[in-house]
């Protein structure tokens, strides 16, 4: 009896099912995180910027070699004294609601970006004012020449300089924007958005790509939307995501777990693609400079002797092919890689570390480590650190909490005893860390800087000098001095860098571009 019912139901439905799949070309992709917040300015999370680059557009876009290329800008002039930048928007720029993009929107957007994002803040500290000449052209007047204006406007990584409508751009940066309306190649289908499961983007039919069909290279080039519909599916379990790719349930998988790369390499129709050579991830141990014991530089330097990068990297990545030891703060393999201050990390000797700590006045009081429990790279790294410290005899108070709690706890400046912290571990993108100005964590702007609050005017001076340097040798020399100084101050202790390739069904999609700092999805087409 049961069989009869089932057979009847199937016969009825099959034709219907096939039809639905036919015409529409859909790209199903699993990114490294789930789209939870839709305001790329409000949060520094990379996934929000990936979402941003789909639905918004930027004035400039850095290409694969980090050179800024015009995107929304048609033509631009820089005054001889390098103090006045005049930008003119190219034609055909329209928001998803049909309204044209005007300089009012651009100025408001840049202002909001400039008050929240680190690179933006640094740029606008030199900007006197922005002046709209007319709807298409506006001027940006600086008080001193600044070398990184175009690179900043075209930066990739977190909190990209996106252009949104004026009414959204006016929202206070502490609040999230309510609507996700941009002028980019895709529209955000807010009604189909299921946080924690799926974010849907539909092809923006009346998007006008840059004329001349320039070849895509990272954020540069003409953006031609490849598919009718992009679904960013969220699968929390990396193994399930890998199996889904092998099974053909998804087409693109941004950050497969390193252990599964051998399986993916063998799987039918699956292709692995290494990202850009500097697009790796760098591990960082951040010490709290405000409170003992790490307010004392000796104690901070003692910690170097506890760190054997090999242990960390094998725990996180496992397969040596995908990680490399890098004793510097600036990304190894990047233009400004150097060996300044790398001697600190050459001498792995836990006993010496303990002895130095004692000399620095450490008497065995508990050191609070924020122990992340649910992050597939930070959790193993913290376990390696905690064990190394305990083996050396340090009294470690490892407080386990989920990543969300770590993010909120690290913002607290109170002493570790009541709600503060001594050490936490995080990672940062290789692209950002390759450039002294873009690398926010290398800064030491005291309490105005990032959590941990290292304080050394010298480092800030060197970072500014780098911005003004005109020639490459000059920049390389400044970079070496900066890294040497930063290593001495122990702004943070690097524990190596690793990169994970992209994995995608080459038999189903193509047009995948090696990304630098941020996954580029708009160019992907479906066979």
């Amino acid at each position: 009896m049961l069989k009869r019912i089932l057979a009847g139901a199937l016969a009825l439905v099959i034709p219907f099912a096939v039809h639905a799949q036919g015409q529409e070309k859909v790209l199903r992709a699993v990114m490294h995180a789930d789209v939870r917040v839709i305001d790329p300015i409000w949060t520094t999370q990379t996934i929000a910027s990936i979402h941003g680059m789909l639905i918004y557009d930027t004035l400039f876009g850095n290409d694969a070699n980090l050179k800024p290329q015009p995107q929304m800008v048609g033509k631009y002039e820089i005054s001889p004294d390098r103090l006045t930048y005049t930008f003119t928007l190219r034609d055909g720029l329209k928001f998803h609601d049909g309204s044209p993009v005007t300089t009012k929107d651009v100025i408001a957007s840049l202002k909001r970006w400039g008050s929240k994002d680190g690179v933006g803040i640094r740029l606008f500290s030199y900007v006197v004012k922005q002046e709209a000449v007319d709807d298409k052209t506006f001027k940006m007047i600086l008080k001193e020449p600044y070398g990184m204006v175009l690179e900043s406007l075209g930066k990739s990584g977190s909190s990209v300089a996106i252009i949104m409508r004026e009414q959204e751009a006016l929202t206070d940066p502490q609040q999230q924007v309510k609507e996700a309306i941009g002028s980019g190649p895709y529209k955000f289908a807010k009604d189909q958005w299921v946080p924690g499961s799926k974010a849907v983007y539909l092809k923006n039919k009346d998007y006008v790509p840059r004329p001349g069909n320039e070849p895509p290279s990272s954020f540069a080039g003409s953006k031609i939307p490849g598919v009718d519909r992009i679904e960013l599916v969220w699968i929390s379990d990396p193994q399930t995501a890998m199996s889904a790719l092998v099974n053909g349930e998804i087409d693109f998988y941004e950050a497969p777990n390193n252990d599964f790369l051998p399986i993916l390499a063998k799987a039918k129709g699956v292709k692995l693609m290494m990202t850009g050579k500097i697009d790796s991830t760098q591990g960082m141990i951040r010490l709290n400079h405000l409170h003992p014991p790490f307010n004392n530089i000796k104690a901070r330097q003692a910690m170097y002797h506890l760190i054997n990068q090999e242990d960390f990297l094998r725990a996180i990545v496992g397969n040596p092919e995908y990680y490399r030891v890098c004793h510097g703060l600036l990304t190894c393999g990047g233009p400004y890689e150097n060996d300044g201050g790398s001697a600190f990390l050459k001498d792995y000797n836990p006993k010496k570390a303990m002895q130095l700590l004692k000399e620095a006045g450490y008497k065995g009081e508990p050191i609070t480590v924020l122990f992340t429990t649910d992050h597939n790279t930070i959790t193993p790294a913290t376990q390696v650190l905690v064990q190394a410290m305990r083996e050396a005899g340090i009294n470690v108070d490892a407080q386990s909490m989920d990543w969300g709690s770590v993010v909120s706890r690290r913002a607290k400046k109170d002493p570790p005893a009541n709600g503060g912290w001594n050490i936490f571990i995080t990672t940062t993108g290789g692209v950002g860390a390759s450039n002294p100005v873009l690398h926010t964590w290398i800064g030491a702007a005291c309490d105005k800087g990032l959590f941990g609050w290292p304080c050394d005017p010298e480092i800030e001076k060197l970072r500014n000098a780098f911005a003004f340097a005109q020639t490459d040798e000059e920049r390389k020399k400044i970079a070496k001095d900066l890294q040497t100084r930063a290593m001495e101050q122990v702004v943070y202790i690097p524990f190596g860098q690793w990169n994970t390739p992209l994995a995608f069904r080459a038999d189903k999609i193509d047009g995948v571009v090696p990304n630098t700092g941020l996954a580029v999805l708009w160019g992907i087409t479906k066979k």
């Binding site: 219907f16 949060t43 499961s197 399930t240 199996s243 889904a244 099974n247 993010v407 909120s408 913002a411």
Partner: protein, 313 residues
């Protein structure tokens, strides 16, 4: 009968009140402070305070409760702190997968477990009975998530017969919908099936020892009539009771199945919300789950009247 239903509905009010009170104060007394988390990465003290004010967390506890209850009356379960979406919308988005999973598991489990239980009772102490009881005890002990991974490993990955994860809404066609539910239903259903099979066997055995079964045999009735009409109809009440209780077991199991099979259901939503301390979502969900359970109990009680003429309301 309607008098009974109305009385039972009134009886649910105190229960729901207890649930509401428990959930509301439980979350408020937790040491973690949601405002700090919401304020985001480089939050300063004032921005955290701003968030607290916006959410009304700084107003006296009692006032918060009445505001919440009053909005509850109008069916407004508040807005998620993180995604600014109304809780009711979040819930309605994810209702279909959870309901589909629960019902398919329920249907599969009951359709298999009851006949197995009847046969085990009929052939008591023989091989088939031992096998069934062995399966029941094992099924009860097997942790759901371990079984789930084993199923995925063989059926989805090795033999690629069924999808590894995800849920295909019925709108996308019955076949993909059914396929995406098979593995989760089995992984979730095994424990539930073990429970029903055991109770069916126990209540059938008790009924088969009754005098009226001896009378039925003394009338020389065919075995299947004695078993299915005379015995099973009497055993129906305890069986239906355990199916009702089992549904609570199912709701807990759904949370795990949704995690392993990455199904965007209410269970997964609750876990994420609790891990992120998203107050309104957690409160709304627990109320929804509690309401569903109370409703199920009512339906089960009413069904008794149809199963046993002696029960009159």
């Amino acid at each position: 009968m309607t008098a009974y239903i109305v009385r039972r509905l009134f009886a649910t009010l105190p229960v729901m009140a207890v649930v509401a009170l428990f959930v509301f104060f439980l979350l408020r007394f937790a040491p973690g402070d949601p405002a700090a988390i919401i304020a985001g990465d480089d939050a300063t003290a004032e921005s955290i305070a701003a968030v607290r004010a916006k959410l009304g967390l700084d107003r006296p506890m009692v006032e918060q409760f009445f505001v919440w209850v009053w909005s509850l009356m109008q069916g407004d379960l508040g807005v998620s702190i993180f995604s600014n979406l109304a809780v009711t919308r979040l819930i309605s988005q994810r209702l279909e997968p959870t309901v589909a999973l629960t019902l398919s598991t329920l249907f599969v489990a009951v359709a298999l477990a009851v006949p197995i239980g009847v046969v085990a009772a009929w052939k008591a102490r023989k091989l088939v009975d031992r096998l069934v009881m062995g399966f029941a005890v094992l099924g009860f002990a097997m942790p759901g998530f371990v079984l789930a991974y084993i199923l995925i490993y063989f059926f989805a990955v090795q033999w690629q017969l069924l999808p590894v994860q995800g849920y295909k809404p019925i709108a996308e066609g019955f076949l993909p919908f059914a396929e995406s539910l098979i593995l989760p239903s089995v992984a979730l259903g095994v424990t539930y099936m073990a429970l029903i099979a055991r109770i069916t066997r126990a209540s059938m055995l008790e009924v088969l020892a009754q005098d009226y079964i001896r009378t039925a045999n003394a009338k020389g009735l065919a075995t299947d009539r004695v078993l299915l009409l005379h015995a099973l109809k009497n055993a129906a009440v305890p069986i239906v009771t355990v199916i009702g209780i089992g549904i609570a077991l199912l709701i807990s199991g759904v949370v795990i199945a949704e995690t392993v099979f990455n199904i965007p259901g209410l269970g997964r939503l609750t876990v994420d919300a609790v891990l992120k301390r998203d107050y309104p979502v957690v409160q709304g969900l627990i109320l929804v789950f509690a309401g569903a359970k109370v409703l199920v109990n009512l339906i089960i009680d009413i069904s008794y009247a149809f199963l046993d003429p002696r029960i009159r309301y």
